[in-house]
Amino acid sequence: MNASKSMSVRISVVVFAVLMALMLSLILSSQGAATAVAVAPDPDLQRSFSLATGPDVSSLDVSDYYATSGAASDEARRLAESVPLPEGGNFNGIRWDELGGVSRAGIKGLLLFNAACQWARAQDDGREPTKARLILDEVPRWPTLRQGDRNAFARALVLTEGQLAAGVRRDCRELHEREVTYAKQRGTLPSS
């Protein structure tokens, strides 16, 4: 009787220990996942979030004007660091040398519009689909795309039907076609 009681206690202890181990591993793994998200958020999503929650730029402010293509592209390189792009993305297609002058707001507007089109193409091509969708949902809150016609354009990027959605997609597609031609002429790499 005592032997069977002792065996039953041993089994209970083992079962309890196994259950505790399982629970502990579940807790640790969930904490690990949470830590991973907190420690290493996706840099593109973080950039997009910062743009969406940051201040807008005044489109009528021309106090910071870049009259030469060199000055404009230098400023663009600096501003581009805060703009998310899909893998293989770049801003080589923007024709700073043909603009004949552009404000800082104008530079930012070109970069953000160009980036939005690159994410729309990524989504259409099935590249980074989840991230593309999350970013395109935020694009209408990016600076220079929050108001007016450009906001309507940004909102149409996530639509799949309608005349405006078709036109917006065509605009982005033709933008990329020009970019590829321009890149070939200059010996640079177009965005993917």
Binding site: R95, A105, L110, F153
Partner: protein, 140 residues
């Protein structure tokens, strides 16, 4: 002349249908431009210079109710000749432009596009010196 009109009206059955007659008269009286429901943007206090191209606003799109083109006119008489252009919102490339002479306040077609196309409004003076605080209208 009156008899020709009567014969045309009679042959098309307009005299027998007063409503159709009125509708035809109204349609004929409307200028072609009113067939479109244009989108207008008022441009205020735009400063243009001769040494660089200046932008206005951060971009506009071609709507679905116009004729697919973008037009610009000065609403206060411009003191200098100007060159106004429409450029891509995504890469700055030129879609089209037109030169507007001094004192010209009529609409000028900048380029033809399509519904949803985003463009930048840009301009400069084409004669020496600047032109400050001038107003205009963008139609598309």
């Amino acid at each position: 002349m009156l008899s020709i009109s009567r014969s045309i009206a009679a042959s098309t059955g307009l005299l027998r249908n007063p409503k159709a007659c009125i509708a035809a008269a109204v349609t004929a009286a409307l200028p072609a431009s009113q067939a479109h429901a244009w989108s207008y943007t008022t441009v205020t206090n735009w400063d243009l210079v001769d040494y660089e191209v200046r932008e206005y606003g951060n971009g506009y799109t071609i709507g679905s109710t116009g004729d697919g083109a973008a037009y610009y006119r000065w609403s206060d008489s411009p003191s200098k000749s100007t060159r106004i252009s429409g450029n891509s919102c995504g890469d700055g490339s030129l879609y089209g432009l037109d030169d507007i002479a001094a004192n010209d306040t009529s609409y000028h077609r900048l380029f033809g596009g399509f519904t949803g196309l985003c463009f930048l409004l840009r301009g400069r003076t084409t004669q020496s010196g600047g032109m400050y605080n001038h107003d205009g209208v963008l139609r598309r």
